[in-house]
Amino acid sequence: MAEKEKKESLLSRLGESQVWKSIIRSGVPRSRRQRMYAVLGNVFLHLHPARVPKHAVKIGYTWCMGGLSFFLFVVLTITGILLMFYYRPTVEYAYTDIIDLTEQVPLGIMRELHRWGAHAMVLTVWLHMLRVFMTGSYKPPREFNWGVGVLLMTITLFLSFTGYLLPWDQLAIWAVTVGTNMARAHPFIGHEGPGASLLAIGDINLVHMGSDVRFALLGGRFVGEATLLRFYVLHCIAVPFVAMIFMAVHFWRIRKDGGISGPL
């Protein structure tokens, strides 16, 4: 008993100290007022409102899937940064770098965490979408945020797809070859797509193997060195950047649409 009192006083003394207060801005949240302030006064927590309806905190309502999708995005960013220390996106090094980073790097499960995390994120995003459908949470005023969500799902799939190429093994290049072969059939801008032959000046075809949308995606006529670099940049910079913007909008709109949905 005496010990507990001592601890508490240590805690509260810490909570009242200048250092703590300069960082956290409020004392240890004990009173109702302080607890609300702990959320409002913190840049990360103030994503939340200070108070939410009772059903909103139940696992059974949201299954936590939106939150876990975001959490996985953070995990993937962190493990991805660690992987970037070791990985060079060239045909010469990519494959051996992957072997090195599993075999030479201590506690080398970064690649596993990153890969399984990516698969898991596809799943959590799908489950999140299912729950949003099943609770009818896409109905007004949340139509727009559902749309943002659909784009987020597309972005998640594209992120996963661009990352699939980077190990530069058989699995990687053939999966990406199969996937990007679709692009040649794009109407008008793929060289084997309907309407592509209409885009011509006289006899000169504007859309051919060396100029169509697949060529732009791959940086060449087949999956090669340029594709690896392109996918690397897309995977590490471009797509995460877009994803972050859409997530910001998504989270902001949840608040603006009146917080988590619920029965009236």
């Binding site: 609300m36 959320v39 936590c64 992957i98 898991a120 299912l130 058989q170 309407g195 032959s197 619920g262």
Partner: protein, 371 residues
């Protein structure tokens, strides 16, 4: 045991399994009173009870246990990149079960004139600190533990170094795109790879504007939104998730179908006897050669496609769906029809292929325009 395996092999052929699912679906998620009556009569709603969950869980697990000890299925099942699909099967079904259970519970409450279970007095809120943040923290830690255990147990796959000269057979896209790859069996790449994905994305974004039923917002419910529910679940679970399962587990070399317990014979010969609609009409029916004029040759196909996508909704708007049309207005009605009919074009084409060996409805390879 072999008998059971043969049965599974037989049942999982797309023609059989897809048909079974499609026929069973309206009874599981009844969109009309008639189906609802049958659902009650046959006790299908009992799927959404704890007992139902037990049986669903046991049958899936039974399948995977047999599969695990089968030398052929073991190869596909234990591929590290296929683990997520097994997780997907369990988690999707669990989550739908849970949602439906809550929905039926809420439906009963609404019938009794009560509020849904999620309802609370708006003034009676809880504080985010600590009531929400501690749940988030626990969820995050548990999930991280799960991820770490998964990562320690199963190594990320790495095959031979990339070799552009050695095409593996089958070459598969990443698992979440296998539904699209499966559509390639029935449609050309410009449709299955480009138009359909665009329609899926735009169509999904359009859902809140097409479903103007105001009921059932913010709580689990089924009865109040059963038509929308049925269409969404059919599109998502059958035309997307189930096709992924087929693409992963039942497609072997040359994208031929193999039952789960069959050996992936790379030399399996499947006769290609598919015939275009134009050939059916001009050669088989009229006993003439194909006309040289492309438009004349494919005229029947054009009539069929335009009739299906544009004329039929127009006629329906005047007759059977008159009420819907008046309720929705022209723009909303045509959007719903365009996306809905495109979605159902997939199963329709599948059955045309299976029943009549129909290859293309419109076949203009000269323009890369095949439907």
């Amino acid at each position: 045991m072999n008998y059971i395996k043969d049965l599974f092999d037989f049942l999982s052929a797309p023609t059989i399994s897809f048909t079974l699912l499609t026929v069973a679906f309206p009874f599981i998620f009844p969109p009309t009173d008639w189906f609802d009556k049958k659902n009650k009569q046959w006790g299908i709603y009992k799927l959404w009870t704890n007992k139902g969950a037990f049986w669903i869980f046991m049958s899936i697990t039974f399948f995977f246990i047999i599969g695990y000890f089968d030398p052929y299925f073991n190869l596909t099942m234990t591929k590290p990149d296929n683990i997520p699909i097994i997780l997907m099967i369990y988690s999707m079904i669990f989550v739908i079960w849970l949602g439906m259970k809550k929905a039926y519970n809420n439906d009963a409450r609404l019938d009794r004139g009560e509020k849904p279970e999620e309802w609370n007095d708006p003034d009676d809120k809880v504080l985010v600190w600590p009531d929400l943040v501690y749940i988030e923290l626990i969820a995050l830690i548990l999930f991280m533990v799960f991820l770490i255990v998964w990562s320690i147990l199963i190594g990320a796959p790495l095959e031979e170094p990339a070799n552009p000269a050695a095409t593996p057979n089958p070459s598969k896209a990443p698992w979440y795109f296998l539904g699209l790859q499966e559509m390639l069996v029935y449609f050309d790449p410009w449709l299955a790879g480009i138009i359909f994905p665009i329609f899926i994305i735009v169509g999904m974004m359009a859902i809140p504007y097409m479903d103007i039923n105001k009921k059932g917002e913010g709580y689990y419910s089924f009865k109040e939104r059963r038509v929308g529910y049925f269409i969404f679940m059919y599109g998502w679970m059958v035309l997307w998730v189930f096709l992924i399962v087929i693409g992963t587990f039942f497609r072997g070399p040359n994208w031929n179908f193999f039952g789960p317990f069959e050996w992936w014979d790379p030399h399996k010969v499947v006769p290609l006897t598919n015939v275009n609609l134009s050939e059916y009409v001009w050669v088989k029916l009229l006993n003439k050669g194909l006309p040289t004029n492309i438009i004349a040759r494919e005229a029947v196909g054009f009539v069929a496609v335009i009739g299906y996508l544009f004329i039929m909704p127009l006629l329906l708007a005047k007759t059977k769906l008159k009420n819907l049309f008046e309720h929705y207005g022209p723009v909303r009605y045509s959007t719903l029809m365009l996306f809905g009919l495109t979605m159902f074009a997939l199963p329709i084409k599948m059955y045309l292929r299976w029943l009549f060996n129909l290859k293309y409805i419109i076949a203009i390879p000269e323009w890369f325009f095949n439907i």
